[in-house]
Subunit: 222 residues, 2 copies
């Protein structure tokens, strides 16, 4: 017999629906483009109902970022952590990011790339939150690289922080140019850049790992 | 005896002042954040006076992009073309971009990186104009890479289009992370990434060219 849902469950689901839509809109129009009124119209909710959930625009923006982070964890981070360790994880993080952009999980591309570009020069709680999330993402890439060095898949001279920066650079550029030129080949360019960059530092063991990933890379970007 | 300035000269200078300020504001607040009213307030001009220059917000946005392009040509493109050909030009383009970001020629970072991020998913004349400018920039990088191959500075297996994408990726990532984390070390990360990427494809002649550039790279990023 199914458990009866209380009003709290219902409220949470409504909140989730609102925030998921807010994140979709913000990926195209920007977080500053979000308004409680426009979101209420879009969802067919009353404006006062939405105000009951979010007291201010900033509260809505911060909650939207949290909701987008949950999507990102579900689409990119969690499956990459489950895929394996070291170089396998590092490849999976990159492949899953490109897949998440190519599948247009958010219609405006990577939510966090958009948010970072919008708020990189606007001090305040929104910028702080985005900086914290981007730092965590870079740290996830760095750790996977460091563990690939520890496992002997990347050579000892590899600088995991520099490597994380370079991989992130290719991923972000793919996100922008795919949308600006409406050209999916930028996904393959990023995948090629990443594969070459990793190959340059890979040991024999690392090259064996990379060989098992090449099919996956093609799969997610076409 | 100095030439008497007609009203046309005066009008042109006023227009330039307006658009330069508009580009500065847009690099922080976005092109959608521009308004004729707010710009008039900021400059101490009358709103009706500004309307005489620009009939609509979109006209102001398009004129602002043109003004920003002039700045970009002056700060990055022209001195790089004057620096030399082939690999020298390619290095100069990258160094001058990093310098233009580090010197905060626009307070919000690269005007075009911001504009691309804002309009990459918003079809219309603004997106078209930004796409055209970004395509021209990528073509400038590609041509310099191709001429470095022709000059025997980069090996014959170099793909100049892929190389342009990878260099642009490092430059864009430096722009975002420098501002997001208020951390100038991202400039050095990008310069390192670019130097390593070019070294990987460089011939003996190319390595000699790169050796002459290393001081410049440090100079522009510190």
């Amino acid at each position: 017999m199914p458990r009866r849902r209380g009003p709290t469950d219902q409220g949470l689901r409504t909140r989730q629906t609102i925030l998921r839509r807010a994140a979709e809109l913000a990926s195209v129009e920007g977080l500053e483009g979000l308004s409680i009124g426009a979101l209420a119209d879009d969802l067919g909710f009353s404006k006062s109902g939405l105000f009951a959930h979010f007291g201010s625009k900033e509260e809505l923006q911060l909650a939207t970022i949290d909701a987008a982070r949950e999507v990102y964890v579900q689409e990119v981070i969690a499956p990459a952590l489950a895929a394996g360790k070291g170089l396998t994880r590092l490849c999976a993080l990159c492949e899953l990011f490109l897949s998440y952009v190519a599948r247009q999980v958010f219609p405006g591309g990577c939510f966090f790339a958009s948010a970072m570009a919008e708020f990189d020069c606007k001090p305040g709680p929104i910028k702080d939150k985005i900086a914290e999330i981007q730092a965590a993402w870079m740290e996830t890439l760095r750790r996977a690289g460091a563990s690939a060095v520890d496992a002997g898949e990347l050579g000892p001279h590899t600088d995991p922080e520099q490597l994380a920066f370079e991989l992130e650079a290719a991923l972000l550029a793919a996100n922008w140019y795919f949308h600006l030129f409406d050209d999916r080949s930028y996904m393959a360019r990023a995948a090629d850049a990443i594969r070459l960059r990793l190959s340059a530092d890979a040991t024999k063991r690392g090259r064996a790992t990379l060989a098992t990933r090449s099919t996956d890379t093609t799969a997610v970007t076409t």
